[in-house]
């Protein structure tokens, strides 16, 4: 897996809501890219982010920090960051950091979409 060649895929739901397919890894190698992608979305009016972790095998502290950064950006705008289809390795990090207290989790992207819209 070469993370440096990976891009995050962004799928618009509405003007204010997008799904971000996190892909295989969100870590120190691509966290800056993730932040840039999210900042561009916020600048264009997006407030709600559904993070799809279906294929994610790595979420490290830097990756988690970039999600916290996104949350700090959209919270004052009454936006949301939610987790969908959380893979087992990501769930281990969520449990370790008690991040479920901050980010609502949904079993599927569709369930997250219904809850957010």
């Amino acid at each position: 897996m070469n993370v440096s060649t990976m891009n995050f895929s962004v799928e618009p739901c509405t003007q204010e809501t997008v799904i971000i397919r996190v892909g295989k890894a969100l870590d120190f190698r691509n966290a800056a890219e993730f932040k840039t992608v999210c900042q561009e979305q916020v600048r264009s009016g997006v407030r709600n982010f559904i993070l799809d972790f279906t294929d994610t095998g790595i979420l490290d502290s830097t990756g988690l920090g970039s999600i916290f950064s996104l949350y700090r950006q959209v919270s004052p705008l009454e936006g949301q960051v939610v987790f969908a289809s959380v893979s087992r390795p990501v769930q281990v990090v969520v449990q370790l950091t008690r991040t479920y207290k901050v980010f609502r989790q949904f079993p599927t992207v569709e369930a997250a979409r219904e809850a957010v819209l």
Binding site: I58, P89, L96
Partner: protein
């Protein structure tokens, strides 16, 4: 699973190689059943965080980086040694600084604390050969958690 030893020299590819090893060990059922999946993910997380720390912050001067990883399963525990030829640093002091400075919803500074919470007997010291050694154990009997300010 017997003790495994791997040596790495390329900081650009080491993370991918390490995860590739873990994927292979899992596919081949190399970890003992007494060391379950969650514990394996925690071990992998700790190794990842440390390698990420070395890749981003370690000072090797003009030396070619050399990183050795030894993993030794023992029932419900796995002992791990990661040796490097960097200049090293004072892990304990850094841990306490990061703990004291951890802000609400922190963007940085969680990696070493994450490692500390997931492990037992975590030490980083200069070995007889002049290299620095990180040693720790991960136990299947531990349910670690981090106190991050939200």
């Amino acid at each position: 699973m017997d003790i495994v030893h791997h040596r790495f020299r390329d900081l650009n590819t080491i993370i991918d190689h390490v995860h590739g090893l873990f994927d292979r060990w899992n596919a081949e059922n190399r970890f003992p059943p007494a060391f379950p999946e969650n514990a394996r993910y925690l071990l992998r997380q700790v190794v990842h965080e440390w390698i990420a720390n070395l890749v981003q912050h370690a000072d090797f001067h003009d030396r070619e980086p050399e990183i050795h990883i030894d993993i030794q399963p023992n029932g419900r525990n796995v002992h791990c040694v990661i040796e490097d030829n960097s200049d090293g640093f004072d892990l304990n002091t850094n841990l306490r600084i990061r703990e004291a400075m951890l802000e609400k919803l922190p963007e940085r500074g969680m990696g070493l604390l994450m490692m500390e919470r997931c492990t037992e007997d975590l030490v980083y010291y200069r070995a007889h050969n002049g290299h620095f050694r990180l040693e720790f154990s991960v136990s299947a009997d531990k349910d670690p958690w981090m106190d991050i300010p939200f």
